[in-house]
């Protein structure tokens, strides 16, 4: 059993073990949707919500259903199904109650289904043997960390509108370079809190 308090796990998941900048999960939507600050923030908010909820739901399902029936080998497929179903539910909910946000997010909302950070968080939670409270803290922290990273990236990319990037480096290449330097900077927090 992991003894780290849930609050520490939350903070660590934002800064020291940032799911994007330390584990490099969720890169695809990070690179694709970070051109504008508003879109990036919308997607970040959606990821925070989905990550927190699916981590908790997956924790319950894993320990209430899969472990008692000794079906842990099904975890991948079950987790993916839960995430897909949950994103569907969120999509319908958002469309019904806040159509403005729904149209602002567009295709990015269903794309959260295939964001590897979401599945990654559920798997980390199993590997690190978190309790329910810890899982909730980790899910929320990982979501906040991901949203922070994409917001920073969007800011930098907006500023880079003034840059004169050489042709071979335009587009995804320069975004990867920036992500690399951001990850190096975030290494400064390494060793501050250990959540392993």
């Amino acid at each position: 059993m992991n003894a780290t308090p849930a609050l520490v796990i939350l903070i660590a998941a934002i800064v020291t073990n940032n799911i994007l900048l330390a584990n490099f999960l969720g890169m695809c939507s990070f690179l694709a949707c970070s051109r504008q600050i508003d879109t990036a923030l919308g997607l970040g908010a959606a990821v925070i919500f989905v990550l927190t909820c699916t981590t908790v739901i997956n924790h319950v399902i894993y320990h209430m259903v899969l472990v008692p029936w000794q079906m842990e080998y099904l975890q991948f497929i079950v987790f993916i199904a839960v995430i897909a179903a949950f994103v569907q539910f969120v999509e319908m909910f958002v469309e019904r109650f806040t159509p403005v946000l729904y149209y602002a997010l567009g295709i990015f909302l269903p794309l959260i289904t295939v964001n590897c950070a979401i599945l990654g968080a559920s798997l980390f939670m199993i590997i690190r043997d978190y309790t329910l409270a810890q899982s909730a803290g980790f899910g929320l922290g990982a979501g906040l960390g991901w949203a922070l990273a994409i917001a920073l990236m969007a800011g930098i990319r907006q500023k880079m509108g003034y840059s004169d990037v050489p042709r071979p480096f335009q587009g995804v290449a320069i975004a990867m370079v920036v992500t690399g330097v951001m990850a190096m900077a975030f290494m400064g927090f390494a060793g501050m809190v250990d959540i392993q």
């Binding site: 920073l152 840059s163 004169d164 330097v181 900077a185 501050m192």
Partner: protein, 342 residues
């Protein structure tokens, strides 16, 4: 007037043309003259002199190797764009060299400066278009790739006269000494504040002497090359944070004087945080930027695994700047709109 000459004359900030030159090499056609950058170079001279005095002439060797490869890297990119090499590349190279430990192998110097200039500056389109401080991108890269060369081999400084001015470098069997920050982290007795002021402690080439750095820094402030708001807010941030933590009983954080004088904090806050391009662009943003650098230095030194946090703090704030500027501008516009309506 040939086409090239008229081009040079029309370029803003171009220095007066020298005719002929050595082997037909016209200095200010190859390099772009940038007055603020020349001032920063002047301001690093005391610290560079200190580096030679404390660690021998090899320090100058490190600086020159760094400059040579920085110019080479920038030139290989600039050639494609048809621009001259900026004077700023000298500043990046010198500041980078001053942050290296005295026994750093030349290989490491070269790798770092090439990565810093190429991936910290040139891939963004060269001078004035970079997001991160190129010197720190280079240093961070070698810091992570070569931890032994960058963090273990410290040297005791020379003392007395002529000090390092008569020597090349201490040999491999020379006495090594831990830096004050490392001593503090290990819980051993640390250097006296007086030694930190003069700089007769172990550390990176240009970071040890607080007095020499402040002399250079004051020159930068006097000539308005560095923004005083950034320097002041950096110092205030570090003093407030370390005072609050130290006197509330956190033993991992040293007192404010030790925080200011030890490690690369003064070098970072006077010379690196004030880089006008990677710093925040709005006035309010600059206050926040500096303050958070100071606070982050204290936090990283105290709680993260590294003894020193100035480099990480500045790089982190470089990352935060664009979005901070965005929101500072947005708030300002909102206020202006509200004032217009009212």
């Amino acid at each position: 007037m040939t086409a090239r000459e008229s081009d040079a004359a029309e370029r803003p900030g171009a220095a007066p043309e020298e005719s002929g030159g050595l082997f037909g090499f016209r200095f200010w056609e190859f390099f772009r003259y940038q007055k603020p950058m020349v001032r920063v170079l002047t301001a690093t001279l005391p610290a560079m002199g200190g580096a030679v005095y404390f660690f021998g002439w090899r320090a100058l060797g490190v600086v020159l190797v760094s400059i040579a490869f920085a110019v080479l890297t920038e030139w290989s990119f600039c050639r494609k764009r048809g621009e001259p090499v900026s004077t700023a590349v000298f500043v990046s190279a010198v500041l980078y060299a001053l942050t290296l430990p005295p026994r750093v192998p030349y290989m490491v110097v070269i790798v770092g400066i090439v990565v810093g200039i190429a991936f910290g500056k040139e891939v963004f389109g060269g001078f004035a278009r970079n997001v991160f401080n190129p010197a720190l991108v280079g240093r961070c890269f070698v810091f992570i790739c070569f931890p032994v060369e960058m963090t273990v081999q410290w040297l005791a400084p020379y003392s007395g006269l002529p000090g390092g001015f008569a020597r090349w470098a201490r040999g491999a069997d020379a006495l090594t000494r831990a830096t004050p920050l490392r001593d503090f982290q290990a819980g051993e007795s640390v250097a006296a504040l007086g030694d930190l002021l003069t700089g007769s402690v172990a550390g990176s080439l240009g970071e040890t002497s607080a007095v020499l750095l402040v002399i250079g820094g004051l020159y930068l402030l006097y000539t308005k090359t560095a923004d005083w708001r950034i320097v002041v807010s950096c110092l205030v941030g570090a003093v407030l944070m370390s005072t609050a933590l130290h006197y509330s009983g956190v033993t991992a954080v040293p007192g404010p004087m030790f925080t200011l004088l030890s490690g690369g904090f003064l070098l970072g806050s006077f010379f690196m945080a004030t880089d006008p391009i990677s710093a925040a662009q709005t006035g309010t943003g600059r206050w926040i930027y500096g303050f958070l650098i100071g606070a982050l230095v204290v936090i990283i030194r105290g709680f993260a695994g590294w003894p020193e946090g100035t480099m990480f703090a500045i790089l982190l704030m470089n990352t935060f700047n664009p979005i901070m500027d965005h929101y500072v501008r947005e708030v300002q516009q909102m206020r202006k709109a509200r004032a217009g309506v009212g």
